[in-house]
């Protein structure tokens, strides 16, 4: 292979026609990459083509097409559906803030070790057990119909309020477990280092453990919030007119299911980018080592947290 005399013969500038030369290998690689792309394209085309053919030629297709794919109903219902989606966004944003706060309190309570805090630990544990065990729809039903149904003076009846409370109660239980896993993942040597400087246990938690734990669980937290975003439709059961309720209203008026397709599209448009962002964040953490320090600082910088220069206050 490298029989040619000069030192250059074996290096980058070697004869391009020689088998095993850099140029020859490049050509081979390009050819095989082109072939792979072509094969992938063809197989995708064939598979989807067959699927579409089966669906379009099924006996019920004309009926399904009429009731799910009616362009006029799609366009006429879309503005109302998008407007109703603003209610979902409100539900999502308000309960997300409440969930983040309540879940953190629950996680810290469950992670405490002091004997005097046993009752707090017990309550937090029971809370998490209950709200993770109950189907979300039941909690929404019980709160949304049960509490206003008591007819107590001064108790609000706005279903939007109970929707927020129910979503917060349900999701706090899940999110607190995510936080708790984050807290548990911080090596005890971090707490030891903090305590050895004279920091109290709460100070060590506040300044050393929690900041690292929270940065580490940002991707799973985002994952839970994708779930929350979708579960906002559940509150339609207690009469909040949000996107799903809105599409039901249109459906009831037109006897056509196209509004549901529009709703599905709205969720896809909003949720897929968020899911991609989460995946990107996870991949980024993994790529850069994913160690304790690595993950923490990357998530911090990914979230746009700027770092000052030299010894800035």
């Amino acid at each position: 292979m490298t029989a040619q005399g000069g030192p250059d013969a074996t290096s980058r500038g070697g004869p391009a026609s020689l088998p095993g030369s850099r140029a020859q290998r490049r050509r081979d690689e390009r050819t095989s990459a082109l072939r792979s792309t072509l094969v992938a394209f063809l197989s995708t085309f064939v598979v989807f083509g067959v699927l579409v053919y089966i669906v379009v030629n099924s006996p019920g297709w004309p009926a399904v097409q009429a009731s799910f794919f009616a362009p006029d109903i799609f366009w006429s219902s879309l503005p109302g559906i998008v407007a109703a989606f603003l209610v979902n966004i409100q539900l999502f944003l308000i309960s997300e803030v409440l969930i983040l706060a309540l879940a953190l309190v629950l996680a810290v309570a469950r992670s405490s070790t002091a004997p005097v805090l046993f009752p707090v630990r017990l309550m937090a544990t029971v809370y998490v057990d209950i709200f993770r065990a109950l189907p979300g729809v039941l909690v929404i039903y019980i709160l949304g119909f049960g509490i206003p149904g008591l007819n107590l003076p001064g108790v609000p009846t706005d279903p939007f309020l109970y929707a927020i409370v129910a979503l917060t109660l349900i999701y706090s239980a899940y999110v607190s477990e995510v936080y708790r896993a984050g807290i548990a993942s911080i090596h005890p040597s971090q707490t030891a280092a903090a305590r050895s400087l004279g920091l109290s246990q709460p100070q060590a938690l506040r300044y050393v453990v929690l900041p690292q734990a929270i940065r580490r669980v940002v991707p799973p937290l985002l994952n839970d919030f994708i779930g929350l975003q979708k579960d906002t439709v559940l509150v339609s059961y207690i009469g909040v007119v949000e996107i799903f309720r809105q599409s039901q209203i249109v459906e009831a008026g037109t006897f056509n299911f196209t509004p549901y397709l529009a709703t599905a599209l709205v969720f896809l448009v909003v949720t897929i980018p968020l899911a991609r962002f989460t995946d990107w964040l996870v991949a980024r953490q993994a790529r850069r080592g994913g160690g304790a320090s690595g993950a923490a600082s990357q998530v911090a910088s990914a979230l746009g947290r700027s770092r000052g220069g030299q010894a800035a206050p």
Binding site: A193, A296, P313
Partner: protein, 252 residues
């Protein structure tokens, strides 16, 4: 070395077990102010546990520990107040990875000593400068080499102005070429009169720096004395055996 004043550190009959394993079996040790003590011995002989007990990171089973005459193992003692006076540096650095170097160093002074941030930072910068780390102040720990990280950990402990500094195999996790920079820092601290208790596998360093060397074996201080005596003519067979192995491994 025991003058009329109370010793910087006094350990009396200290026992500590983890489950069925007695890690410390009656340690007696007295350290005078400005004294540098090297703790040597095989892994598992109890060096690290002894240091962690002195910093109250472990509860003890039996015995008493005094710092400048005050019993720190007494019931109801405020452990956070004790820890301010005793600094510890760990084998694995244990810097806070989410904080810049300067914030690692000033966390204790700011949150425990309640010093204003500007004062704490000025002092921290002086310390970082003294150990050649000034330009690293704004960086996160994982941008630093192991030797630099360990020097930051030492500065972090010093920032609390401890009366006593405990060093737990601080060079064991470092690449060989990074060991010297950390040892030089410790030498400088010894020259400055810092009272130190150093668990180490660096026998040459122990011989150079220590006023006294304690050989730990199975949770007891089997033999102690000036480095010249311990390394040249150890009295105990176990000490001789340990040192022979070290010499065979080319570490002395």
């Amino acid at each position: 070395m025991t003058g009329s004043a109370a010793a910087a550190l006094q350990v009396e009959g200290l026992w500590k077990s983890f489950g069925p394993l007695d890690v410390l079996q009656g340690i007696d040790l007295e350290v005078a102010e400005h004294e540098v003590i090297a703790l040597i011995g095989a892994s598992g002989s109890g060096k690290s546990t002894l240091l962690r007990c002195i910093n109250l990171l472990e509860t003890i089973d039996e015995g008493r520990i005094f710092i400048e005459g005050e019993e720190i193992t007494a019931k109801g003692v405020n452990v956070d107040r004790i820890r301010r006076r005793v600094g510890i540096v760990f084998q694995s650095f244990n810097l806070f990875p989410h904080m810049r170097v300067i914030d690692n160093v000033t966390l204790g002074p700011r949150k425990v000593l309640k010093r204003p941030a500007s004062d704490a930072e000025a002092d921290a910068m002086r310390l970082l400068e003294r150990f050649g780390l000034a330009e690293k102040a704004g960086q996160l720990p994982d941008r630093l080499s192991g030797g630099q990280q360990q020097r930051v950990a030492i500065v972090r402990a010093l920032a609390m102005q401890p009366d006593l500094l405990l060093l737990d195999e601080v060079t064991s996790a470092l690449d060989p070429e990074l060991v010297a920079e950390v040892l030089n820092v410790i030498r400088e601290l010894a020259a400055g009169g810092m009272t130190m208790l150093i668990a180490t596998h660096e026998m040459g360093f122990a011989r150079d720096i220590a006023n006294r060397v304690c050989f730990l074996d199975a949770g007891r201080i089997l033999e102690q004395g000036p480095p010249a005596q311990i390394f040249a003519e150890p009295r105990e067979a176990r000490t001789r055996q340990f040192l022979t192995r070290i010499i065979e491994a080319g570490r002395l």
